[in-house]
């Protein structure tokens, strides 16, 4: 496709987006939930200085966080592949850190790092490193076994393997990770400003939500969406400029024993010990005050031995039940929609220019801005929350699966084309199997992402479930309950993640055995 041919549908997509936005704003003029493009443009023109300064602050923090988070992900992935024994510890700890709810980490970062921009940068980095790490680890394994054998036949080790073979195989997946990370970093920096930052788009969002300045809120939403679209597009262009090789046919010997049940139990136990040690050790090393930085024994006492233990457990169980109702349907809907949409876009490439801007916009506009709109259409019941969770899961799945579908080996597609088999047949026999590792990577990294999404929605809009419980316990200084909730959220995330990984192991052992090699 030539450049101009690619730009035409993109322009059409943006035009449709604007037309839909205008119509919606006109239809809902009385409800004060959405402002149209003209009001937004007027507001932007009248407040250019204010919004420009805020954008500069938030964008800088997001960019630094984006760089730091992704560098950390690349480093961690490298470590895990050069020293395979560390894989479980690295990916386990990375998962646990990603699961930490920002309602709990935000105030602690503020106390640790003081006033200024540091907590926002850290939260932006935390929002992105995991969604890069997982696709990257998948990509670094997506190599034909013979290439690795070649490196070994020269007597070279795992580092040479990583540099000469795996790095190139991992690049397409790295770009997928970076595209997913761009809107996440921006949103992470904005939500990071809720911890008491002096300036930025997040601070303005809080202000304008209270003062019901809908034009200002949608101006911020427009900026967030525009920044994310530009970043998404730029990374995509970079990927197209860098990636010329057609994806190779990956042949790997199947089934090199993926670890028995006993081995898995040992790994799990080691991870728990490691997490407890890091948790306790870090708090002691930083000399965090026990009033709000609870250690493992404090939480144990609060949940099991303390006088209020029964009440604490009751509150937690109730909140988990409330959250689970939204979480599972939202997660599954987001995964299904993301994978389905990716398949549709490969079959009908013309649609991509229409769908992708909407997908990026949905992911990057802050929940506090869109929530009233979704509540208006879907009510305050389960449908609204489930939709918001699905939106958060949908985008990373779509991007990961799109990249996965493109990893279909060129030679095999050539064979199918020689026999004049249609796109549907190619999809079924070549592209779908090639997409499976990416789909499962998306499914795994979406577990904590969905849990984070649901708790943020609960915290900011519905006031129910785990998110609300954590916010309430922080505001009433019930830090025992808060940390107990953090433990429960992390444990649920890790267990669900492990469940998806087991399913993945079963299926990939057949379709992508190279992913199972250590």
């Amino acid at each position: 496709m030539t450049r101009s041919a690619a730009l035409a549908p993109a322009a059409l997509g943006l035009m449709l987006l604007f037309a839909g936005w205008s119509l919606l704003a006109m239809a809902l003029a009385d409800t004060r939930v959405i402002a149209g493009p003209i009001q937004v443009a007027g507001w932007l023109a009248g407040n250019a200085g204010l919004i420009g300064r805020a954008l500069a602050v938030t964008l800088t923090n997001a960019a630094i966080g984006f760089l730091a988070g992704n560098l950390a992900a690349i480093l961690l992935a490298g470590i895990a592949l050069v020293w395979p024994r560390l894989t479980h510890a690295v990916s386990g700890l990375a998962l646990v850190v990603f699961c930490l709810p920002l309602i709990a980490t935000g105030p602690i970062l503020r106390v640790l790092l003081g006033p200024g921009e540091a907590p926002q940068i850290v939260l932006a980095a935390l929002a992105v490193y995991y969604t890069t790490l997982i696709p990257l680890m998948t990509g670094l394994r997506a190599t034909p076994a013979v290439w690795l054998d070649l490196v070994r036949s020269y007597g070279r080790g795992r580092l040479a393997e990583l540099i000469h073979v795996r790095a190139r195989a991992g690049l397409p997946y790295l770009f997928a990770g970076l595209q997913i990370a761009a809107p996440a970093a921006f949103l992470g920096a904005m939500v990071g400003e809720f911890t008491g930052a002096e300036r930025g788009l997040g601070v303005l969002t809080i202000r304008f939500t209270r003062s019901m300045d809908v034009s200002a809120l949608w101006a911020i939403a427009l900026l967030a969406a525009a920044v994310s679209m530009v970043a998404y597009g730029a990374i995509g262009a970079l990927a197209r400029a860098v990636l010329h090789d057609r994806p190779p046919v990956i042949l790997a010997p199947p089934g090199i024993g993926t670890g028995a049940g006993f081995g898995r139990a040992v790994h799990a136990a080691l991870l728990v010990v490691l997490v407890l040690a890091v948790w306790w050790g870090a708090m002691e090393a930083l000399d965090l005050n026990r009033f709000f930085a609870k250690r493992p024994p404090d939480v144990l006492a609060a949940m099991i031995r303390g006088p209020d233990a029964a009440a604490t457990r009751g509150a937690l169980f109730e909140a988990v039940a409330e959250t689970a109702v939204f979480l599972l349907p939202g997660y599954l809907a987001g995964l299904g929609l993301g994978a389905g949409m990716a398949i549709l876009l490969v079959l009908l490439p013309g649609l991509a220019a229409l769908i992708l801007p909407v997908a990026v916009a949905l992911r990057s506009i802050p929940i506090v801005t869109t929530a009233p709109l979704i509540v208006l259409f879907l009510g305050r019941g389960a449908a609204g929350t489930i939709t918001l969770v699905a939106v958060m899961v949908f985008f990373p799945t779509l991007v990961a699966c799109l990249h996965g579908l493109r990893q279909a080996p060129g030679q095999i597609l050539d064979v199918f084309q020689t026999y004049a088999s249609g796109p549907l047949r190619q999809m079924l026999h070549v592209r779908l199997p090639a997409m499976l590792p990416a789909l499962f990577a998306a499914a795994r990294m979406s577990v904590p992402a969905a849990i984070l999404a649901v708790t943020v929605v609960e915290w900011l809009t519905t006031g129910r479930g785990l998110g609300s419980l954590m916010a309430l316990s922080a505001s009433t200084s019930n830090y025992n309950l808060l940390w107990a909730a953090v433990v429960v959220v992390t444990a649920i995330s890790t267990i669900c993640y492990a469940a998806v990984a087991m399913l993945e192991a079963r299926i990939l052992a057949i379709y992508a055995p190279e992913q199972m090699r250590r």
Binding site: G196, R199, R207, T209, S468, L472
Partner: protein
Amino acid sequence: MLASRLTRRGFMASGAAGLVLGGAGLRPGPGHAATPVALQLSWLHSVQFAGSYLAREKGWWSQAGLDVSLLQGGPNAPVEPPVVSGTALVGISAADYTAAAVAQGARFRIIGVAMQKNPFVIASLPANPVAAPADLEGKRIGMALANTPVLQALCSLNDVDFDAIRIVPTQYSAQPLIAGEVDCLLCWETDLPVAMAMNGIESRTMLMADHGYAVHSQTYIATRDSLAERRAELVALMRGEVMGWQAYRDDTDAAAELTVRMFPDAGLDLPTQKLQARRQVPLMFSDLTDAKGFGWWSDDSVEANIRTLALLDRTVTPDLWDRSILEEVHAG
């Protein structure tokens, strides 16, 4: 130095009766490095904290040898951790939150009360007003579920059937009221009603403090350790606050203008800030503060607070309140 002292005297002469200020002995001579201390605010910068801005702008803290940084709050910025950990010397809290923190082991004392009257209101539209607690029965109220105990306390104070009210969990915004999703909102006198007024929407507010809900708000808290070891700094900080808020009362418009000028990146709107500044005056100043000075409280109000807090499941004793800093401030 002499000139600034003269303006201070001039200010004091024009200040409220009974407000006796001094503390010249505390002021270090020129050349002394100022002691850095932090005041943790409970929310984003706005005229809600304008007394502090005045204290800084007029130099009432720097003259006393303090370099006060004002730490902004936010939705994910609880006040208690920075005060407990010593990052902030003083925090702006409220009696109910302070009581909760103390129950969890924080060694806090309330050393000043900015809002004598609790700012919680039930806001409604004139066509369907809530003028008295009894009107709540049968209504849909939009609020954060976290505030359920507050509504329960109001009901039991006024013999209202709590179960006859339908709670709708909403974001903290007036939008659901205007869209007709709810009949009333539980909010502050000084934020959502002001936002509605600035959007040209008339609203009614019923102040919960006028119906028995006695909880000191915008209270100054410090740890018992600070009270023992950093008294001079606490006295100097609170003296600046007292002077700042007195100046605020004398000209709320000027306070609003200063606020907008000091925080150009905060997205503040001058007419909104002026209206908010006027609306919080009756909550902060009373015959009692006229007689005793800003921040003061009576033993009766402590008793009333203890009774209301008991309805919120918070058990506190009168020694949660410590008047010794204010006594030093006002004694000079």
